[in-house]
């Protein structure tokens, strides 16, 4: 036995380190991560009639409406990419980012019951959300693939995909990292000031329009060059645009490795900031929530 010496397994105190992400601990709780993911997937559509069909309905309807408004009425050009497919791709990507962010941002609020009683690494919860959301994203990608193939056969001038398709997983990871990072930053604010969660609802709505979901960045630069910088400085717009470029590598969309590198680095910075704030909050949030 180690006897008298002061070798403690752990200490609980108010002093906090900047980043206290204990990977060993998270690894020890990996089964919990798996079970949380499983729970989310199993329970979302229990006792609904249409079940997972809801995953299809939302992006399809939104794409139809977007195509009508933005492409038919506002006459935004999408080049050789079919407008409907263009919108569907943007919405699929945006949805994944959105549910990751929302899930992460409400971590403390929705789990205060458990968090108030038991300790486990809190980071498990947003991580499980990001993973379980992959399933929803996967289902929506299936429809997108379906329409992609359909258009490829029916339209002779459709873009042909190339090796850029390999970038899709990279973009999915980047979206998850942005969702986690921003979500964690927001979650720390919602614990004390509920105003933030009310704000989040409509901020996400507006942000979607600023993130190049219903239009290509180039089209915006041509039509309203004086305001295009708002979108140009929005990393989310470049993520959506890049995700589309991976599917439709044409000149209508802008993509280069500098942009790709910058958004990746920015994502990591956001994630680290989020992690620091999240760690500070998880220790005392139960007193303020």
């Amino acid at each position: 036995m180690s006897g008298k010496n002061e070798s403690w397994l752990f200490e609980i105190s108010s002093k906090r380190k900047w980043i206290d992400l204990n990977f060993k601990e998270i690894w020890r709780y990996r089964d919990l991560l798996v079970l949380f993911v499983k729970r989310d997937i199993i329970t979302v559509y229990k006792q609904t009639v249409l079940g997972p069909l809801w995953f299809f309905i939302q992006p399809l309807f939104t794409s139809v409406i977007f195509t009508l408004i933005f492409n038919k009425v506002a006459e935004i050009e999408t080049g050789i990419i079919p407008a409907f497919l263009f919108n569907l791709a943007g919405i699929t990507a945006w949805n994944y980012f959105k549910i990751c962010l929302n899930g992460t941002a409400s971590t403390f609020k929705t789990n205060k019951g458990i968090f108030g009683k038991v300790y486990f690494p809190r980071f498990i919860v947003p991580l499980s959300k990001v993973i379980s959301n992959l399933v929803k994203f996967g289902i929506q990608m299936l429809i997108l693939t379906g329409f992609y193939i359909f258009y490829s056969y029916t339209q002779s001038d459709m873009v042909t995909p190339d090796w850029h398709l390999l970038l899709i997983p990279a973009y999915v990871i980047i979206m998850a990292v942005y969702g986690l990072g921003l979500g964690m930053i927001i979650s720390t604010m919602t614990t004390k000031y509920r105003d933030v969660s009310i704000l989040l609802g409509f901020a996400m709505q507006l942000l979607m329009y600023l993130s190049a979901v219903p239009y290509p960045i180039k089209a915006l630069k041509e039509k309203v060059p004086e305001f295009a910088w708002v979108v140009d400085y929005n990393p989310l717009a470049h993520i959506i645009e890049g995700f589309r470029y991976a599917l439709f590598p044409t000149d209508t969309l802008q993509f280069n490795w500098n942009i790709f590198g910058s958004i990746a680095i920015l994502g990591i910075i956001l994630f680290l900031i989020g992690l620091v704030l999240f760690n500070r909050t998880e220790k005392t949030f139960i007193d303020t929530v």
């Binding site: 200490e11 105190s13 709780y29 089964d31 108030g116 009683k117 004390k192």
Partner: protein, 424 residues
Amino acid sequence: MSKVILKAENISKQYRLGLVGLGTVRHDLNRFWHRIRGKEDPYLTIGAVNDRSEKATQEYVWALRDINFEVKQGEILGIIGKNGAGKSTLLKLLSQVTTPTTGVIKSRGRIASLLEVGTGFHPELTGRENIYLNGAILGMTRAEINAKIDEIIDFSGCEMYIDTPTKRYSSGMTVRLGFAVAAHLEPDILVVDEVLAVGDAEFQKKAIGKMQDISKGEGRTVLFVSHNMGSVQSLCTRGLLLENGSIAYEGKIEDVVSTYLSTGKKEVGLSIAERTDREGGEVFRFTDCNILDERETQVLDLISGNKYTFKIGFKSEEDLAGIRFRVRIYDENGITRIICNNGFSSQLLNVKKDTDRFIHCTIPRLPLPNGRYNVRLTCATLHKFLDDLEVAMEFDVVGGDFYGTGKQQVSSEGVMVDHSITLH
């Protein structure tokens, strides 16, 4: 064996009173401003003692203040105190749900808490799925749960419903399933809060038994918080008495429990003379009622088989002759267990006006099994009632050895009488 496994050094916890509003923003900004200049939190120096009955005088309150204690390996520490004494806050700190404002808790082992059973149960998941989920939340790995799943299901007594969503469970079943999972945890230190207050009598017995196994047989360290003095006394070896956020007493569990009970006893004694929920009491009035053990010390926890005297104070306005006293003891269900009446057992008594004498009602061998009992005091002459007090006092019977065999009656019904059962 006697290694210190858990140590609390000067831990305090401060809470802010009132609502979150613009004032909170101001304090947050001020605190932030102090922190970036590397100064102390300006709000740590203030704060009132946690006494809920007083009017709040300050914005901050200390739920816990300078708590120091050590727990040795294999020890079962009972933590008792009135509502609001800081027990739950202490447990929250120990189970890492929140951090102390100042001070450090050091531990050599993994801590798992049983603050409330069934944490994280999802109503849509089946019992079996919830066992895995709940187990994982409490810190078990899948392999550990796999090894114990049959035992857990068996212990919960929900085998028939194990593949049904828990939303179809009765509340009792949910609690049992939750406790079954928690009872099979294997942390180095287990923190338990009031779980025994749930479930039916049979399950409670099972739960207490399991707790005893965990602590005695397996040498686990347990911190146990409860209002039930009976189970605290039977489970724990050492105790902490919390009062208004500080440790009021620390020591052997018997001493801690009696200190705790004696703080409550004064209130019972005081009120009898002034109580209005009585019949009569004009000419003759009970003023006091205490139970004395053989050493003539006041007690509220009785041991069956021991000798006890009910010492009853009274005040009479007149000289009265031929008085009957009745001490009726009934259980929590209102069932009368014992009636003592000097009209049958001894002689009628005469009392003088303004006397300072007491009535003693002595039971040489208390025949009551474990439980909580009420005492009703009645006084009458042959012709009329003088005073009748429905619940003059309460007491508990906690264990004992009535038959002198070292065994105790398991059922809490009836009374014990001397008997023998032999074969002829």
